[in-house]
């Protein structure tokens, strides 16, 4: 009886061969392209970077305003939903809880986006070369730091408000968002169906990370090869890959161990 084992090896071999061919063609193409246009690309990137450095303060200020707007709109929507939930009929509750999930997810995504953009923009000026370049650069960066802190403080308040609003409609969820074990307590206050949603979504996120990280690793390696961006980005992505895999497998072993020792 034939098994699928040999087919799997052949398939993987073909994938690797395909990958090598595509990589070879793209690599050679990129080498030829960058040989002719590389300096132009580097120049453009350098100009963009310098432009961003000069605009750190206004860009961060705009980001702060946009974050406050997004936070107030999403929290306002959540508040409206949560106040309607306790008195809603069964069918109406289904609709409201879907809306709650949707606005809660939007709120969380915008919040993280705001934090990530804040860090990226501030990081553009967070360099000793830039700070040593002029007095104006140092002064501007100091004000940028103040706006950055304001934005991060608002983002933290926004997160806590979102959680408190969800708790308004679901009083059984007692976890305190300002404590370190908030995630654990929140999970403990969820029932079995809610936990299944969390577990399935977490597994999807794990699968996505597993697919995205190798691509990022190749991209950071290519960036280092062609633009000398340094090894740090490659190492960081590799560390994330290792940390995610180790956390997942360690959790699997720990759960099996718990069951095995219960016998």
């Amino acid at each position: 009886m034939k098994t699928g084992k040999s087919n799997s090896y052949v398939k993987i071999g073909l994938y690797l061969l395909g990958g090598a061919l595509v990589g070879g063609v793209l690599g050679a193409g990129a080498y030829m392209f960058l040989d002719n246009w590389g300096q132009g690309l580097e120049g453009t990137a350098s100009q963009l970077y310098s432009g961003l450095q000069a605009l750190i303060l206004p860009v961060l200020a705009v980001l702060l305003v946009l974050s406050v707007l997004a936070g107030e709109i999403t929290c306002g929507k959540l508040k409206k939903i949560e106040t309607q939930l306790p008195d809603a009929e069964d069918e109406e509750s289904d609709r409201l809880e879907y809306e709650e999930e949707k606005w809660g997810a939007l709120s969380m995504n915008l919040n993280v986006l705001s934090q990530v953009l804040c860090i990226i923009i501030l990081a553009a000026g967070y360099s000793s070369n830039y700070l040593a370049s002029s007095e104006a650069a140092r002064g501007g960066f100091l004000y940028a730091c103040i706006v950055f802190i304001l934005c991060m403080v608002y983002d933290s308040i926004w997160q806590i408000r979102s959680v408190k609003l969800v708790q308004l409609g679901h009083p059984e969820k007692k976890a305190d968002p300002s404590t370190r074990n908030f995630q654990k307590k929140w999970l403990e206050s969820c029932d079995e169906a809610e936990r299944e949603v969390i577990y399935r979504s977490s597994y999807k996120a794990y699968i996505m990370i597993g697919r995205l990280v190798p691509v990022l690793l190749v991209l950071t390696m290519l960036a280092n090869l062609f633009f000398n961006t340094g090894m740090l980005a490659v190492v960081m992505v590799a560390v994330i890959w290792l940390a995610v895999t180790l956390t997942y497998t360690r959790s699997c072993v720990a759960l099996k161990e718990e069951k095995a020792l219960m016998k």
Partner: protein, 70 residues
């Protein structure tokens, strides 16, 4: 999963809404709604709890049918 149920019917007989049944079973209203729609198969513990609240057996509420079974 070929698991059907008559939870909505038994809940209506008790004259309670999803929130009240959820409180009695120690789960959220949403979980009761998901079970009634057939979108979630409850654990054995929850199925037994629901049967106890409705004062019937688990088999009265939940029906398992194999593929192709009439």
């Amino acid at each position: 999963m070929p698991l059907f149920n008559h939870l909505k019917e038994y809940r209506s007989r008790l004259g309670i809404n999803q929130t009240e049944l959820g409180k009695l079973a120690g789960v959220s209203r949403q979980t009761i709604s998901l079970i009634e729609r057939g979108d979630y198969s409850p654990s054995v513990t929850l199925a037994l709890k629901l049967a106890k609240i409705c004062q019937v057996t688990v088999e009265d509420i939940f029906v398992y049918e194999e593929d192709g079974e009439e």
